[in-house]
Symmetry: C2
Subunit: 204 residues, 2 copies
């Protein structure tokens, strides 16, 4: 059934165009017409894939989340779990990362007044925290912690990622990657001191 | 010259109404007409105080910043500087605090596509960090740190405040005040251990 595959691919491709438009011009710029124009389609074609602008926005938000998850997966070293690498890959230190955060900020500002949309934020962040906690369980640096401690540390580290991203995206000149990364590394180091990591390495 | 005083007071009162409207219904809801209606004025009167909607939005953003600064000042104990109390008072743990953060998120989402507006965010946060660093210089818990260390700690703590607020405002049920405050306290404790504070207290 290739038509179904194409439907999902086409929605993704259009959401990707919408993400670029939102990051550059805000939510108001992401009209069905503008997205259609950027993708080289008629508005009628876009309307075929999205029920309304609301549907397009939600798809774009989720596209940005998937895009950053893909970045985080690509940042994992081969053959072992690295929770820190996952968190660092979520930071706005690349053009794609910056774009994704801009889409989220635009969407969250909009979601404040929309209960259904605003539920999307804690849902996505909780999913991301769960993923980090899962990596921690398989990461020698954090595997000695019990499960509730790993979940709490994953949540705390995500708070740092959120705060750094919110600060950095509006002031990228003052927030190069190294500065962003330092704060996330420190948030993790507070719970998993280097001494402990070294000891684990010696045991291995 | 009472007319000038009234001009500033009236702008503030209208920005306060706009803040309530934005927190409840997003930026789109804050039309000149809606703000005028909420304040019991004609749109003509509102137009007298604000050049355009842009001017109204910027005034509302700054009003929210001033409102939270007032909360933080009110949270200071009498006769001594308490940097932690200042930071805790910035969290969305009160209806006014939640409203102010919602206004900022709405504004930041909007500001992404507007270079002049987006400059407002780092400017306000830097001012807030400077205020925290200033309190730290007079706070026995942090006064032993040198000035660059205090500034860095103030910046790091503000990152935590931003991250917690971003997380909590969309999920207040899961983020009661105590949970928000724990993270900020831990961010400060990492740099100023309780042992050191106790030692300072004994020296005094």
């Amino acid at each position: 059934m290739p038509a179904i595959v194409n439907q999902a691919d086409r929605r993704d491709a259009l959401a990707g165009r919408a993400a670029e438009i939102i990051a550059a011009g805000g939510l108001e710029a992401a009209t069905v017409k503008a997205v259609a124009g950027a993708a080289g389609f008629s508005t009628k074609v876009v309307s075929h894939y999205f029920v309304d602008k609301r549907d397009l926005l939600l798809a774009t938000y989720r596209f940005a989340a998937q895009s950053s998850l893909a970045l985080a997966r690509a940042g994992q070293p081969a053959g072992r779990a690295d929770a820190e690498a996952h968190l660092l890959a979520l930071l706005p230190t690349t053009p794609t990362g910056v774009r994704n955060w801009k889409v989220w900020f635009a969407f969250w500002g909009y979601a404040i007044s929309d209960p259904e949309f605003s539920d999307e934020q804690p849902h996505q962040i909780a999913a991301s925290e769960a993923r980090v906690a899962e990596l921690m369980a398989a990461d020698p640096r954090f595997a000695h912690l019990d499960e509730p401690s790993r979940r709490q540390l994953a949540g705390d580290a995500m708070i740092t990622v959120l705060g750094v991203a919110l600060r950095a995206v509006f002031d990228l000149g003052a927030w190069p990657g190294a500065r962003q990364q330092r704060l996330v590394r420190e948030a993790l180091a507070a719970a998993a001191p280097a001494g402990r990591v070294a000891a684990l390495a010696n045991e291995a």
